[in-house]
Structures are given as C-alpha cells and as structure tokens.
Amino acid sequence: MGSYLFYFSTESIAFAKTRCQPDLLYWWCVMHNNSLFQRVFQLFLTLFVVLSINFALPRLMPGDPVITLLGQDVTVVTNSNLAELRSKYGLDKSLGYQYAAYWQNLFQGELGYSSHYRQPVTETIKDHLSWTLALLMPVIAFSTLLATILGTFAGWKAGSKLDYTLTLGSLLTYSLPQFLIGMLLLKVFAFELRLFPLGGLGSGSSDSALTNFLDTVWHLTLPVLALTISATAPKLLVMRNSAAKEQQQDYITYATAKGLSTCRILSVHLLRNACLPLLSLLALNIGFIVSGALVVEIVFSISGMGTLIYEAAIYRDYPLLQGCFLILTVFVVCINTLADFLYRIIDPRITNPL
C-alpha cells in the first residue's frame, strides 16, 4: 500500500520472536521491536547501497576521466601530464580512499568540483535543476490534471464512446516517440508558424520581472506541450482503469441510491478513491521524468538535468555524475515520502504512521 517504504508483516516479527535467532539485523529489529525503526534502518541501508552504486557506476565506465581535460583539440598526451591532472582531481588515490572521501564529502554536504563544467557541483546542479523544474512542474501539473479529469470521465463512462476515444487517443499518443512529437512541434509552431522560439529558456533581455517571466513562459510553451502530450497518456490510462474499477464498487451504487448528483459522486466519491494508483504512478515515475526529459531538452536546446547527466556521463565527470545521482535519489526519496504522506491523507485505511 505504502508505495515506497517497506512493507513489514507483523507475522514475521512474531515468528522472529519465537525463533529468536542471534542475528544482527533481527537482533536490531527485535530489540527495538519497532517498525518505524526498521523502516528507517532499511531506508538507510537502501540509500547506502544506492549511493555506493552511484560511486561505483561512473568508475565502471571505460575511458580515462582526465583525458578530455587535456583539451578537445590535438594535444600531445604523456603519462606525466595525465598523472598531474589525475592528482589535481584526486583520482590518483586508491579506490578505497576515494570511497571514504566520497562518504565524508556526502556527510559534509560537499559534492566536489565538476571537472567538465569547472564549477562546484552544487552550483552546476542548482542551475540545471531549476530549469528542469521550471520545465517539469507545469508538465506534471498539467498532465496530472488532464489525466485526472479525463480519466475519471472515461472510467465513469467505461465502455462509452467518450471512453473509447479518450483511451484510444491516449494509447496513440503514448506510442509516439517523444522526440518525434518534439521535432514536429518545433517544426510547425516555431519554424513554420513562428509562434514560439526555436529553443532556449529566455531571450536574455531581462527588463522587468514580469516580462522576464512572460518570456520564460513563452519559451517553455512548446517543450511543456511536448512533454505533456507524452506524459498524460499513461496517467490517463491508469486513472481510467482505476475509476472504472471503483465505479463498480458498492459505495458508488449506494451513493447513487442516496440520490446524490453525478457531479458530487464523481468529484467527492469516485475521484478520491480512484486517484490512489495515479499517485503511486506519479511517485514511481518522478525520477525518470526528471532525468528523462533529456530528449526534449536536446530538441529545444534547454540545459536541464538530462543534458547535465548526459554530459557528465560522456565526459566521465565523476563528481558531477555522483552529484546528479545523489540529487535524483534524494528527489525520488522525497517525492515518494511525500506521496506516502498524501496517500495516507487520502486513504485513511493506511493507519501506519511513517
């Protein structure tokens, strides 16, 4: 139920008590006999593993991380100048040392220096993340809103023409590759009709806050549209299915029998129950959405997180890659926790506190 944190059956604890195995993890669990503790413990365990993977992943990639630092034009490469760069970026130390330093830095909130962007990682990420969020917030908002409203109607009228068109339409848009949507939008609306800019997030002329804001909105319209088109479909389908299922429940029949208006049944009764799976889906997909806008970023020349990760990976910028992973991980954890909260608020049946 809780979409993200661990499910722990009370049954297994009871078993643990009778078996009483002298094992560390069980010992902890039994001693504290507190599932909140277990959850937090496991969360940290997972985080530990994930963050360790984040450390290992970039280093698993073939290719020398400092080679591109020599400049992309022709240069004579000698081992000594590579070694010098390596020591400059702390890559000459043993892996164990680097790993220890990685954790130490993490605890100090220090993400290091991006070798490719030549900026503190935090700063690089801050810029890119803010643009990604500027791009994604409206996408998430619009697509969720659209999916919720249309999905509820489709589910309520399951089997009707309306349901049919909406379902088929969203299946169709779901099938279109994102970059195709993006390129077609760019071509038609920006190039042929010249209604929107050809890319970027602003015109660079910052006269007043308002014009600046409007300018940004104008620049964001097409990419947001492209992403919204492809992000709405899966949500709509989930919403529709869940609404169609809830619509057959007794409480809806009873609500009808009570003489409530369709509007109230839909908005108060059906919606709150049916939106739960959508919430899980949203929380689950958030990580992918944040980094997965890469294609649209490329099409619309936006420097977002997708591009950042892409560049970091291509240029083996270890600290930056680690930083991006960390941010995404934190993002996913936070959103999921938030979703968990919301889930609990919407669905009182989940009584367990976080």
Partner: protein, 280 residues
C-alpha cells in the same frame, strides 16, 4: 457491454501486430531492394523509390521493412528478459517472508532508487553500443515495474483463502508458488510483458536517437537517428523521418492495445473473485 467493445482494440492490436510480424518475416520478399543498396542520395519519393532515399542513397522503404526485424527482436527479447526477471523477483518478494522478502524487496527498492536514464547512459557507455547490450540494458532496467505490480498482486493473492487452504492441505510452498500463484498473476504479467515490448521499442528508439544505440544495425530507431542528424527534419524530408516514427508508433500501439485488453481482463478477473466473495 464493455466486454464486447473491448475485443475491438484487441483485434486492431492483433492485426496490426500480425502485419508487422509478417513484414519482418517476409522482409526479403517484400522489400523492393536490398537495404544496403545505394541509389541517389536524398532522392524524393518516386515510383522507383516509394519513400525516397536517405542521405547515402539507401531505399528508405526497404530499410523500413528490414528494420522491423531488429526493432521487433529488440522489443520482444528485452521484454522477455524484463518480464522474466520482474516476475521472478516480484513473486519471491511478495510470497516469501522474513529475510528472503527483505532481500528481494531491497533489490526492488534499490533499482527503483537508481535513476534510470543515468544508469542507462552509464551502462551504454560501459558496454558500448550493440544490439545485445541494448537488449540487456532495457531488460535490466525494465523489470522493476513488473516486479512491483506482480508483488502487489502476489501479496493480495497470498492472503486469499485458497492459498491458506492449500497450505493447510500440506502442499509444499514451491508448488503453491509455481502452480497457484504464478498462474493467477498471469494476466498481470502478460499485460506487463506486452507493455514492456512497447517500452523497449520506444527506449530503443530513444537510445538510438541519443546516439547510444548501435548505429550499424538498421532499426526504426536508427533510421530516425540518421533522419534527425543528417538533415531530414531541416530539409523537410517527411518521407524519411515520418515513416519510422509511425512504424514505432504503430508497433507500440499494437502492443499497448493488447496490453490494455489483457489489463482489462485481469481487472475483470479480479472483480470476479472479489464479487464471488460477497456472493458466496
């Protein structure tokens, strides 16, 4: 009433899929030319070349037809890998208790936490572009959602009276899993599998688009890649970039239609069992 309507999407999906599969199987017969034969570069559509030629003179129609093989292959194998892995881990994490559940649950959560795109980029950079690697990457990353859905369903099934009844009859746990749990998550798995095919094909095209695919094999994704990077868009060569995009869309649509149908069936089956609980 809805049931009768539902079969229409299924028929649409099935026939679309049949067409594509036939296309792939009969490629050498259907394609007017060999996919590697070169004619006038950037030739516009004509009687000789229905969809014109690409930047180095390949007949686009022939390429499209041959590409269906690779694209379908990638889609299916990646989906088999991801659905297989997802089912195994989903069932184990859902059915088992204690350590085993903890272990598999942790794996699911860890993979869920690792951001997919960076991992994909990293893996692609690590293993280099080749068809096999793309399949492996999509398979490895795609199993998570299957596992979650399967796990949820298994948790639900586990508390169904029939499982308890089987346990009280002394049926061994592994037999319960194999004979009684997995067949009952079948629709979920089937739906997820088919969705995974669609997902894999979309991902393949996206990876190709980003230059992380194998540019040496002809897939719809790579045709689009070249169309995009070799001036197809700017020069308005719609006959170059549109058909592969539409092929991807059609194949994905075929699979999603089927998945949608199966999902509906699965849901009906679920409602059926729940209903019978009340009715009985």
């Amino acid at each position: 009433m809805f049931r009768s309507r539902l079969s229409l999407p299924m028929y649409c999906g099935l026939s679309l899929l049949m067409i594509l599969i036939l296309l792939a199987l009969l490629a050498p017969m259907l394609a007017p030319y060999s996919p590697s034969e070169r004619f006038t570069p950037f030739a516009l559509p004509s009687a000789a070349h229905r969809l014109g030629c690409d930047d180095i003179g390949h007949d686009i129609l022939s390429q499209l037809i041959f590409a269906s093989r690779v694209s379908l292959l990638v889609g299916l194998t990646a989906a088999v890998a991801s659905a297989g892995l997802g089912t195994a881990i989903g069932v184990l994490s859902g059915y088992c208790q204690g350590y085993t559940a903890l272990f598999f649950n942790s794996i699911i959560h860890i993979v869920l936490l690792i951001p997919a795109l960076p991992l994909m980029l990293t893996l692609a950079a690590y293993v280099g572009p080749s068809l096999g690697n793309i399949i492996a990457i999509i398979g490895l990353l795609g199993w998570c959602s299957t596992a979650r859905v399967v796990q949820a369903r298994v948790l639900q099934l586990k508390s169904m009276p029939y499982v308890e009844a089987l346990r009280s009859l002394g049926i061994p746990e592994h037999q319960i899993i194999v004979k009684h749990i997995i067949p009952n998550v079948y629709e979920v798995i089937a739906a997820k599998f088919i969705l995974a095919v669609a997902y894999a094909m979309l991902t393949e095209s996206a990876l190709s688009f980003l230059g992380l695919g194998d540019p040496m094999t002809i897939s719809w994704g790579t045709i689009l890649y070249y169309a995009f990077h070799r001036g197809g868009f700017v020069n308005d060569l719609w006959h170059w970039y549109l058909p592969p995009g539409l092929c991807i869309a059609a194949a994905t649509l075929a699979f999603t239609l089927l998945a949608f149908y199966l999902e509906q069936k699965a849901q009906q089956a679920k409602i059926l069992t729940e209903d019978s609980a009340h009715a009985a």
